[in-house]
Amino acid sequence: MKPKNQWLAEDYAEATAQFPERDAVFETLSGIPVEPLYTADDLAGFDPATQLGHPGEFPYTRGVQSTMYRGRLWTMRMFAGFGTAEQTNERFHKLLAAGQTGLSTAFDLPTLMGYDSDHPMSQGEVGKCGVAVASLADMEVLFEGIDPEKITTSMTINSPANAIWAMYLAMAERKGADLKKVGGTLQNDILKEFIAQKEYIYPPAPSVKLVIDTFEWGPQVAPRFNFISVSGYHIREAGSTAVQELAFTLADGIHYVRKALERGLDIDDFAPRISFFFNVHNDFFEEIAKFRAARRIWAHQMRDVFGAKNPRSWMLRTHAQTAGVSLTAQQPLVNMSRVAIQALAGVLGGTNSLHTDAYDEALSVPTEEAATLALRTQQVVAYETGVTNTIDPLAGSYYLESLTDEMERQTLEYFRQIDALGGVEAAIEEGYFAREIGDASWRQQRDIDDKRRLIVGVNAFEQEYPEVPIQLVDAEVVRVQNARLAQVRSQRDQLAVDAALASLREAAKRGSNTMPAFMECARAYCTLGEQMDVLREVYGVYEEPVLI
């Protein structure tokens, strides 16, 4: 057999002279060049023992558990939330009845930005892209009939994460749950908000301080809770490449670890509860490689750079969500095909938890039917395709291993660039991420507009399509929500509220851990807006430089 380069130069060149390639350039969505063929020649120097290991073994390239999906399938966790707490509670129960195995809460923008539902900035937004939670009273309704010791819940909340987590735990306490047995995940990743999704309130330094409060407090009080989900999802949605998503997310994770160590915490106390959240986009192999590279890079960083001793500290456990940004408003049913293929990539990448997008999400929050179909898609991958029967089935593929190595190499290069800028916070303030992501998203848009990249139904195979039903959020939501808020304010013990808010102010000013004060605020039914206003006063608010 000829060596690869000789075969390409002779046989392949001869063949393409007669039958030309269909494109001038072949590359991944991230712009990594893709060769016509990969062979053993591409894996010269590849060492399975150190680069892969076995599943459940360092560096976890093949997965964090030794049994992976032969033991337990990934958690099927559909992100849901709209309208009132009552409506979302009903959707939660329906998803659980349909076979979902964990909950995931979408909050509305006022909640995400720390405003009560009746604040002037909340107008028009209450209950629109998620559920409104302004106090413990809303949290109690939201989890009515759900046992927090049995069902784990993920909460997508960042700037107000401490307050919302405290409300969740206070809700669990009131149900008589043992907080040591309450599991779930708090997103609580403020760095990617500055980098991509822009739901920040306070400046970077106090915002990161609030995150580190959870690193310190969480393992002692609610040890089964992942107090952070370091997220690449939003970075990718904002237009980054897969490599940037991987690099910036892991850089964020490393930044939190450094900050926690600066506070004097022991790495093996907190690192086992750091979790991650990645996007699964259209480029099938690149996405699989991304998950495998992520685990390997994190394991090396934690063990070799930070000296963690507990293997659980080395493991990158991750949730994944199919790419919302890949969904099209045109021919929306086609989105089901995209989601199925993305879900398959997430599973072949060894994700520990998965959300599949509904086909109608380029139009609105999903209808119940669309959300159920998206869950069914995961069930088809899990039970019908057979891909779950053996662990990391693509390992050893010449192409996939080359791509995994290349993504790792490019990620380490990004780490060097970020460090040269003075670290993640300095790079945020300097506008580095905004530029990197802005340029990448612009290139992708040009590729689509100029038809270098074809999107079915958008710039190719266009046709008329019927309207699909969409989920409407009625105006009644605001009335119900504000009525409950008014009732909370009139019925609570005002002295307890004032005392709790004073504790929070004191903790914030002193720089001590804010979590005990947030618990006191939650139990006293302080509203979210009241708590966030205290911190706005102490920390100030952040405005980013406007860049196009």
Partner: protein, 136 residues
């Protein structure tokens, strides 16, 4: 006749921080030779209308992905009317279902570009619509 470059304000009303679309559109219009002002995030309707009048723009493009679009289009088109600035073209983009398009048209709102729209179409639309208004 007016042959000054077309001036466009790209605005992000409300709490939504998803600015990928707004920035891509701003860049596309600028590349097409228009003068583009981008408001940055978290603008109230008043702030947007004030900026539109102060900057003397021909068009305002609102980007809303949070589901609050009807609230902001209603408020901003009413405020433009009150300030005698209805000659400014109001158009937009984001997650907007077909069901809302009829009311937006009645409000006098121009085209709404949903996910998958080509920036070339946005540029052509703004150019044609403004040319039409200037000749009217």
């Amino acid at each position: 006749m007016n042959d000054r470059p077309i001036r466009v304000l790209i605005a992000k009303p409300g709490l939504d921080g998803h600015d990928r679309g707004a920035k891509v559109i701003a860049r596309a219009l600028r590349d097409a030779g228009m003068e583009v002002v981008y408001t940055g995030l978290r603008q109230t309707s008043d702030m947007i209308v004030n900026a539109a009048i102060q900057e003397d723009v021909d068009a305002v493009g609102l980007s809303v992905l949070s589901g609050a679009h009807m609230h902001y289009f209603r408020e901003i088109s009413a405020a433009l009317g009150l300030r005698q600035a209805s000659d400014i073209l109001l158009f937009g983009g984001g997650i907007v279902p077909d069901q809302d398009l009829e009311e937006l048209e009645q409000l006098g709102v121009g085209r709404i570009f949903t996910p998958g729209s080509s920036t070339n179409d946005v540029v052509d639309y703004v150019r044609t619509a403004i040319a039409g208004r200037r000749h009217a």
